[in-house]
Symmetry: C2
Subunit: 350 residues, 2 copies
């Protein structure tokens, strides 16, 4: 990639790559500090290694959370290196949550590879997740400088929100699609804010906390990250139904086949129209959908306005994220890069 001239703003992929490069050495050190068995499972789950331990070049994730941490630090006026420890902590927590969530959801593949529990067994995967969780807390607790305690406090609060969101998501599965016990869109949004928004908010907020920013600055960045997280989850849900299998690595209409309660479907079911009623009838049977029925259900979700509602929701969340950032003085270059990341996250295809 040709570096863009300094006078021109870096593109979102360039921003993400710069942040990954800054974080990578510290993240590698944190992983190397783990028990060798856990280091192996962590490297696998981070996409660095295959299950047999051989390196897989270039297959890492986007690194959105670590980027938000560093940009949070820069936005608060400190050099990015002061936020690296926060970036490492949120990446470790992200991988912890992927490993444990895949166990709970019974997901066997992620990014076109086996999930950790599938590759290493459930018990070892539970423990590897615990090790990453512990390493994240330790990374912040032992951070040099005066802001470690505040950083741990923010992370700890985030972790309790994260498990709360995951609990609600699991409990949604056993609730009905219709009737008084049905999951309502606002409950789903609440869950998404905990499950996905909390960690993105924490990332941006941690960056500011580690820069020694005033509480109002850290809070504004946290808020922006949370809104971005809800938008991110909304897009995830759209991709779970209409995503290109070549890009997502999952079958088309995957979430519908599995009767997963996602935002577009829940939004569609609130419509008072024939498509919503036909959709409810398909889902209420509780039987996983075959190809034809899943395609039909996807059409009904769209017809009942579920797709449109979620696109609108994602745009509104982005708008709220932008507005949160207007509340406080931030370094213009970093602010520009954060604002550039927002639509990039929402316009992604996988």
């Amino acid at each position: 990639m040709t570096p863009s001239p300094v006078t021109q703003r870096a593109t979102p992929p360039e921003v993400l790559a710069r942040c990954r490069d800054l974080v990578r050495p510290a993240l590698v050190r944190a992983v190397r500090r783990l028990h060798p068995w856990h280091a192996e499972m962590a490297a696998f789950s981070l996409g660095w290694n295959a299950a047999d331990g051989t390196p897989v070049p270039g297959s890492q994730g986007k690194g959105l959370r670590q980027a938000l941490a560093l940009l949070g630090t820069e936005a608060a006026g400190a050099p990015a290196r002061e936020g690296v420890v926060g970036a490492v902590a949120v990446e470790l927590i992200h991988v912890f949550s992927l490993i444990h969530d895949d166990i709970m959801d019974g997901d066997e593949t992620r990014r076109q590879r086996a999930t950790a529990w599938k590759a290493y067994g459930t018990g070892p995967a539970v423990l590897a997740g615990d090790a990453l969780f512990a390493a994240a807390v330790q990374t912040l607790a032992e951070a040099p400088g005066p802001h470690g305690a505040a950083a741990v406090r923010l992370l700890a609060g985030t972790l309790t929100e994260l498990v709360r969101g995951q609990a609600d998501d699991l409990l949604f599965e056993s609730r009905p699609w219709t009737g008084p016990e049905a999951v309502r869109p606002h409950e789903y949004r609440w869950m998404a804010e905990h499950k996905t928004g909390a960690l993105l908010g924490c990332a941006a907020g941690l960056g500011a906390v580690l820069a020694g920013a005033p509480a109002t600055t850290a809070e504004a960045l946290t808020r922006a990250g949370r809104h971005l997280g809800v938008a991110f989850q909304a897009v995830d849900d759209l991709l779970g139904i209409w995503g290109d299998p070549e890009v997502t690595g999952k079958p088309v209409h995957n979430d519908l086949r599995r009767l997963k309660k996602t935002y577009p479907v829940l939004a569609a079911l609130t419509a008072d129209d024939p498509a919503a009623r036909r959709l409810a009838a398909l889902l209420d049977t509780g039987i996983p959908l075959d190809d034809t029925t899943a395609r039909r259900a996807a059409g009904l979700v769209e017809e009942a306005g579920g797709r449109r509602a979620v696109v609108t929701e994602a745009q509104q969340q982005l708008e709220q994220a932008r507005r949160s950032l207007e509340d406080v003085p931030l370094a213009p270059a970093a602010l520009g890069e954060i604002l550039g990341l927002l639509p990039f996250v929402v316009d992604r295809t996988g």
Copy 2:
């Protein structure tokens, strides 16, 4: 129970009961802060409730870890209430580790009841453990007073040791009983120090840290707790073979039947005598032992000196715990109560 007169030292059961009473309200508050689903699983795992949510009076554990935390605070010259937050954190971590370890070990019963994963399912139990882990960190991170950051640092280091010890314990299962790859007693002791010693040491050390004690005092209490932990694990291993099923709630010779690598067996196998060789031949088949064979194996462990070696190890660890406490000035009453707990832990029958 009649309170003992102030001139007479409280018995270990009285000390444990006093500490439980002091910690209970804060522990109940911490559990109530959890997601209701996790609060239910936590109350079940703490022995407070049955799986259907009904209270089970008087079935709680001894509360050794919470007692060590409060006694650590008192030994460092502060009132016990200043250590309550540490006691809550270590109890939450203890329950987290029981829930996750039972999943990894495939254990279906604990204290004559179903384990959490057996009662609620693996996924929910993984998440309940995560929630307790997060709550423990949050409890300390938000502790009032100036010592929260140091307390979190101690807990974070302990958590990484805990998962490291559990990893070694799991990996021992796939290593042979004999030959160059066999698990050696010193490796087992190392594992036990991480898996069991670290949290008991953390409990006592946290108490001192929260009292604002000098580092040398906190370190001495931590060291004492770690030695006590290794002794505790040694006794656990003795009970796993020779414990009374009526008291332990597990079948006699349970660990031998399951071919679990425990200290008495590993110690016995290092003996250069016929009993050790006959024992090795029984175990090397890799087939779980039936009643008769398990009884015979237990006899061979004893004959080869495995039982004696572990009793000696436990006594030596207690002696080292006592000596650690001589290194620093401690409040006499609390020191006396800690010293009283040491043999109580080792002489237990279940």
